[in-house]
Amino acid sequence: MLDKSTEEELVRAVTAGDKEAYAILYDRLAPLVRAVCHDYTGNLADAQDLAQDVFLRAYQKLGELRQPESFGPWIVGIARRRCSEWRRQKARERRKRAACRTEPWVVGDADRAEEDGQLLRLIATLDEDERLALHAFYMQGKSAEDARRIMGLSRSGFYRVLEKARKRLERLMAR
């Protein structure tokens, strides 16, 4: 029943104590949050960890969300702040921690993964809005309407940013 609910309804359900509603919000937005985090981390494992943390933080702060219908943009904002924080923290503590890290990279199809990684790295060099437009638009299950709402843009504004992102990506890839 909840599966077809709007984000606003889901947020209200969570604040009323229904934690399962949060799982649906998670299903809808976690891939996008991971993509946003990947821009900062450059690797999937850290992006997944950060996304988990973002959702936990968001849950704890959900009561502060004044516009439940804006859950998408709100959690993307939290992800950006959390990732910036992570980056600063990493710079500070890298000496201690990163040198000790041993987790392997995700292994998949060799050539494909290499090219994917390259493309994702190129995407990470785009402007923040352009990256988010691509993430939001190409994430499975996301409609253009969802995507533009996450960015807080009009539909035309959203498509402009998307088009610009595609063009720039094309130029970067051509180099």
């Binding site: 009009s154 035309s156 498509y159």
Partner: protein, 757 residues
């Protein structure tokens, strides 16, 4: 790589759904251990509390906050009411030697009040007294050294001053009005009973989604503000995120207040700093090198060798050390052609496997501004000098070293990148900045990318002479400034690099960055940014398109490396706009965005009681002419004039009343427009008339349900009224949604459309 196809991108993004179920389970398991989340009262938010605490806790953020307020005050000078009088305030502030913020308070939503006091003398001596929930500190700064007193721990610690860190002189720079990063509106509100002039300064920060509103009470005898208040207002909700106030005086401050003296009862912990890195620099003959600067990647720490060639880095014992991999370089100031360098890796560090298409055995190590892709351990070992130092480890923690001693660095010929910066006429550009963003070094079969090399004293000196807006240099990047002949030298580089990424910029020119190969393409041609485009935008009825956005877009056909970005302005009440500082390249184009969401504009047609007009986007290419620097253009937008008379019947030829009907654009790109004003419902005759449709072709008309191609989520769209949504649901339960395409013809305004549902 080929250009990305839609399906390719979609496939790539599937990576972010990997492991989703497991991650969800894990997240939900964590969630179950947490108490339920509840709706909170607005003033119990935690974020503003943290902002306030952060602002107060750290000196830099505190100064930045203070600078921000001053900036808001200063930069309003360019605008509106009171601007002239305000210019006097700016001048008075920049002339004054002593500033004393007697009291600064930040009011947090939690009800907590954070307090501080600070003094500034001659632009470089400062004293901060900070009292927050986390403790209280005094920071003393005399321009060369800094003393930090922790009143809770009763400790004192001396540090070197960092010339590029925003300090008091940074604030004075702001007060002098040299920073033009922001624009603000200044308004003279009036006078108090005791004669103080009240100014309001507003600054909009779209990226932060907030507006900062300052109020300043200025003494007309001195033109100096004696009190200011500020509040940060959320642009979306109108909520006050944080607010504060401060009072100032400008009486002479005694020098004694700035003395860097450890008070009685305080322990000086400066000497508790421990040595973390030490060694010796020698020349190729093995003789010690005196006065060499020693630099560490990703670090601002600096060291200098003594007459025995020895160097030593010290830092507090509590601070972690060991950012591996690490590049350590030693250079002789003034000699770009030699460098002693080595790479330090943690011998106990297990590398992360990095799968590469060629062998699947590569390993990766990154940190400290260095990325190593390691194929052959042996090749790397051969490169590292035999005595890179002795590593020590702290306690039982043998995973990360805490100290490296007895390093031996040998001076050898270095690689030097030299080049010339010219304009398109071939004339040299002096004082252009060239920055090395990264170099790629090949050692045997290994690739090492060095992102930050450590900054030299010379670079520090250049930094301090650059204006505060040049914060881009911060980050231990190597850079050089061109001489009178436009020549630059980036020296002391490891002599095994094969690729480098450089960035060049100069006042009045567009910044450019490019990758160079060894000794290839080191010269830059910068493009002048001296074009001005101004003009007016009116519609074909002579009405200016007030409040719409005009963008300037540049897609260089001359130089693919240059990225000029997009700039935009809002059309003023007279229909005018202006862009300055544009690059003279082909591809300069003005665009009028007339299809923006109507509700974004505060004074749009809606608030004037008229429907929003869906002007189509206009693209106006500028044809550049030699020697011509200023272009005046007049853009005329066509007011949408198509009328659609739509008739809807059922299969039995009965007119259908109340059917929702709408028009949308044929594709997404630039020709999308908003939906609200271009929808209607059929009347009792089954007819719906929609006016003011833009002249594009083909038009797509939808019946019953908004075009699913572009409006999948129509139920949650606030732009559709509740009444219309109900009608859509009703219609959908009876009839299949339908889409009809209409070809618009030149000069034809009225179209009749018949549809049978």
């Amino acid at each position: 790589m080929n250009a990305p196809r839609h399906d390719d991108l979609k496939e790539i993004y599937e990576i972010f759904t990997q492991d989703h179920d497991r991650l969800r389970e894990s997240m939900m398991a964590s969630l179950r251990t947490l108490p339920p989340t509840h709706k909170q009262l607005p003033w119990t938010h935690a974020i503003p509390g943290r902002i306030g605490a952060t602002i107060l806790r750290k000196k830099m953020t505190r100064l930045v906050a203070a600078a921000m307020i001053a900036m808001v005050i200063i930069l309003g000078v360019r605008t509106t009411n009171g601007a002239r009088a305000w210019a006097d305030v700016v001048k008075a502030l920049s002339d004054v030697n002593d500033i004393h913020t007697v009291s600064k308070r930040i009011y947090l939503k939690s009800g907590t009040v954070e307090e501080s006091e600070w003094w500034l003398k001659d632009g470089k001596k400062s004293r901060d007294e900070i009292r927050s929930r986390d403790g209280s500190w005094t920071f003393l700064e005399d321009g060369t050294r800094r003393l930090r007193l922790s009143h809770r721990d009763r400790t004192a610690e001396f540090h070197d001053s960092e010339p590029d860190e925003p300090k008091c002189w940074g604030l004075l720079e702001v007060l002098r009005g040299t920073d033009r990063s922001y624009s603000a509106k200044v308004k003279l509100l009036g006078e108090t009973d005791d004669g103080l002039k009240i100014y309001e300064v507003r600054r909009s920060l779209p990226e932060e989604r907030c507006t900062i509103i300052d109020t300043a009470w200025v003494d007309p005898r001195t033109d100096l503000p004696v009190r200011t208040t500020y509040q940060v207002v959320d642009s979306g909700t109108g909520e006050v995120r944080i607010k504060g106030e401060e009072t100032c005086d400008y009486d002479p401050i005694p020098w004694e207040l700035f003395e860097l003296v450890v008070p009685a009862g305080y322990t000086d912990i400066t000497d508790l700093q421990t040595e973390v890195l030490s060694g010796t620099v020698v020349d190729e003959a093995g003789q010690p090198v005196d006065g060499a600067e020693v630099l560490i990647s990703d670090s601002d720490m600096k060291g200098r060798t003594n007459d025995e060639g020895a160097f030593s880095f010290r830092q507090p014992a509590s601070k972690p050390f060991g950012g591996f991999p690490m590049i350590v370089r030693a250079i002789r100031p003034g000699d770009p052609s030699h460098v002693a360098w080595t790479l330090l890796r943690n011998p106990r560090h297990e590398l992360r496997p990095l799968r590469r298409p060629d062998d699947g055995k590569s390993k990766l190590e990154e940190g400290g501004g260095v990325v190593i892709v390691l194929l052959e351990e042996q090749a790397l070992r051969a490169f590292i000098p035999p005595d890179p130092g002795t590593m020590a480890f702290k306690g039982q923690d043998d995973s990360c070293p805490s100290k490296v001693t007895n390093m031996l660095l040998t001076m050898r010929p270095a690689s030097v990148i030299t080049g010339r910066i010219t304009n398109r006429a071939g004339h040299p550009i002096a004082n252009a900045v060239v920055r090395l963003n990264q170099i790629e070094v090949a050692v045997g079969e290994n690739d090492i990318t060095i992102i930050t090399l450590g900054r030299t004293d010379r670079e520090r000196a250049i930094l301090s002479s650059l204006s505060p807006g040049d914060s881009r240099e911060v980050g231990a990047r190597v850079f050089a400034v061109t001489d009178e002949d436009g020549c630059y030298t980036l020296g002391n580089l490891p002599n095994v690099w094969h690729r480098a990424r450089l960035e060049a910029r100069a006042d009045g020119y567009v910044q450019i960055s490019k990758t160079i190969l060894h000794d290839e393409g080191n010269d830059f041609t910068l493009i002048e940014a001296d074009i001005t485009v101004r003009g007016t935008v009116i519609d074909n009825h002579g009405v200016p398109l007030v409040g719409r956005k005009v963008e300037i877009d540049v897609e260089s056909k001359d130089d693919e490396e240059a990225d000029f970005g997009v700039d935009d302005v809002i059309i003023d009440a007279q229909g005018r706009f202006e862009f300055t500082g544009l690059p003279a390249v082909k591809g300069l184009q003005v665009q009028v965005r007339a299809d923006e969401k109507p509700y974004d504009w505060s004074e749009n047609e809606l608030t004037r009681g008229r429907p929003f007009i869906y002007y189509l986007m206009i693209e106006y290419p500028i044809v550049l002419e030699p020697e011509k620097r200023e272009y005046s253009i007049e853009i005329v937008a066509s007011r949408p004039d198509i009328t659609l008379e739509i008739e809807v019947k059922d299969k039995e030829d009965n007119p259908l009343a109340g059917v929702p009907v709408g028009v949308c654009s044929p594709g997404f790109s630039e020709r999308e427009w908003y939906i609200r004003e271009l929808v209607g419902r059929t009347d009792s005759r089954g007819v719906c008339i929609i006016n003011g449709v833009p002249r594009i072709s083909p038009l797509r008309l939808w019946f019953c349900v908004p075009d699913p191609r572009t409006f999948q989520d129509w139920e949650s769209m606030p732009e559709l009224s509740g009444e219309l949504k109900t009608a859509i649901r009703e219609c959908r339960s009876k009839y299949a949604p339908s889409i009809v395409t209409v070809e618009a013809q030149k000069d034809k305004k009225n179209y009749a459309v018949f549809v049978r549902l």
